[in-house]
């Protein structure tokens, strides 16, 4: 299995992620899943819509995965983001890493999601009952 999985998909399946990151040299696997939350600042969210500049997003995700592998001693890394319309509770992003010891996979996992949110060209639109908002667009 590949040491670096970087994907943009229509639907995220969380059931296989630990199997995907598992290997004989790892004692720990840390995974973060971002999901659609029902309320944002007390307003009820109907759904979220994700749009990606696919080609560039994959390039940036690959850079983040490679950077993480340089910063920490990791065995496998995964960054998978969903696009399209997502309902409450749906998983929208999965990042994770496996390593011999747990420090590395915890730190790397945090780095993966933090950096993804800063640099990967993916946009999230919140659909409320009476309006839609592109998240972070305005100060």
């Amino acid at each position: 299995m590949s040491e670096k999985i970087v994907e943009i998909v229509d639907k995220i399946d969380t059931s296989q992620v630990f199997t995907e990151l598992s290997d004989a040299h790892s004692g720990g696997i840390c995974v973060f899943v971002g999901t659609v939350r029902e309320f944002t600042q007390n307003e009820k969210v109907m759904s979220l819509e994700f749009e990606a500049y696919q080609k560039m997003a994959l390039k940036e995700m690959d850079k983040i995965a490679s950077d993480a592998k340089e910063k920490w001693k990791l065995n496998k890394v995964i960054i998978r983001h969903a696009v399209g319309l997502k309902k409450v509770e749906a998983p929208v992003v999965v990042v994770g890493a496996s390593s011999a010891h747990r420090d590395a996979c915890f730190e790397a996992c945090r780095y993966l999601i933090d950096t993804l949110k800063e640099t990967v060209p993916i946009w999230k639109k919140e659909l409320f009952e009476n309006k839609t908002v592109w998240v972070s667009a305005h100060p």
Binding site: M56, V92, I122, W123
Partner: protein, 80 residues
């Protein structure tokens, strides 16, 4: 020259693409492109940030633009 638009940039322009025809004045650098679109669509000035990608890499203001480059406006990202 074509400029790809995503997220709120697409909403501001009302299209998923800005096309500069052969006869039009085209921006020669990232900073010129930013200036031109902000003048035509003042809403861009209200965004938290505005980046440009050239050939699917973030490009600084001084990067020159060529007709054959893949150019994209990158409004504030919000993945994850």
């Amino acid at each position: 020259m074509e400029v790809l638009l995503f997220g709120i940039a697409k909403d501001i322009v009302g299209e998923s693409l800005i096309q500069f025809s052969e006869s039009e004045k085209v921006p020669t650098s990232v900073s010129e492109l930013k200036q031109m679109i902000s003048e035509t669509y003042p809403e861009f000035g209200k965004l938290s940030s505005l980046a440009v990608a050239v050939n699917s890499e973030y490009a600084r203001d001084d990067v020159p633009l060529d007709r054959n480059d893949e150019i994209a406006i990158i409004p504030p990202v919000s993945g994850g």
